[in-house]
Amino acid sequence: MAIHFAHICSANDGKSLAMTTIITDQKGEFARGLRASAPVLLGLVPAALVLGAQATAKNMAPLAVPLMTGLNFAGGSEFAAIGLWTSPPHLLLIVGVTLLVNSRHLVMGATLAPWLRQLPRRQVLPALFLMVDESWALALADAKARRTEKSESAFSLRYFLGVSAGLYVCWVGFTALGALLGPVLGDIERWGFDMAFPAVFLVLLRGMWKGFGAAIPWLVSLLIAAGVCLTLPGGWYVPAGAIAGIAVAWMRSRP
């Protein structure tokens, strides 16, 4: 789907998009984005509590949890980081895995770029700090819908910021709350909370599903990662599995 958007956008003349930019009622746009974030929060709040509780179970300082979720603000990589967390943490491994998990942002940013040409970089660069799967998807869908109305500008930065603000405040707030409640919840593994993590990722994978052929690199990643996990200590199964799968994707794409 991401590629599809990119082609539509690049086929369009960037200048004509810029000419149609009209900044309408800015407060209204922010509030509209905030409202659009509400359904997403239903899924986000429990995940944030689980992440915070898992961090406490891994002996992470309660203050470090909102610091991480506030500075990083990318759930998938934070679940991965907590999964690999030790005291002290293995810095290179965690930062490397964060980079790998969040590499999809590169594709997301690239698909958004044609819509952002009308805006100055000094506004875009800080705003992109808040780009996550959900705010990206909502803002892009909104921009597409508004362009067909042909009256107003396509991409609404205020709408994007409204969606993002709702997600950011709740994510940071509820991960912090989860970290504080963690000791009350006790041994979270006994209650099955650790299964939230595979559950979240399996739903994300379902969203990326493009048929069995395209899933072959994933299967390779799973097998290699499982094999390395059983034979080597530490978290090296993540880069081993990921690189093996990406290599297979590279070989399969050979023309």
Binding site: V97, V101, S103, M195, V203, A226
Partner: protein, 99 residues
């Protein structure tokens, strides 16, 4: 108090994540990407995600394997929240029942 090594890890995590967010906009936005590059960029996030959860598949605990199968079946049909709830409750219940 936050220990120095923890702080460094968190600050670096945030930095590389921000670079991934602006990287696509700054580097790839004006360029046409080859179909091959796009195929690889599309496959990469899934490879990473499944590698991260691989240990759950080889835990060796019967309760966890059944719970994982139930969770995977839920993920195919349901959205995030119900899938997470089913995953947690099935793992919790099966561990109590099967030990």
């Amino acid at each position: 108090m936050i220990e120095g090594w923890t702080l460094a890890t968190i600050v670096l995590m945030g930095s590389v994540t921000y670079l991934t967010r602006i990287g696509g906009y700054l580097l790839l936005g004006d360029r046409e990407l080859s179909a091959r590059t796009m195929t690889i960029l599309e496959a990469a996030p899934g490879c990473v995600l499944i590698a991260v959860i691989a240990p759950a598949f080889v835990s060796g605990r019967t309760s966890d394997l059944i719970a994982l199968a139930i969770t995977a079946a839920a993920a195919v049909r349901l959205s995030l929240l119900p899938t997470v709830l089913i995953g947690i409750s099935s793992a919790g219940l099966l561990r109590h029942m099967l030990g």
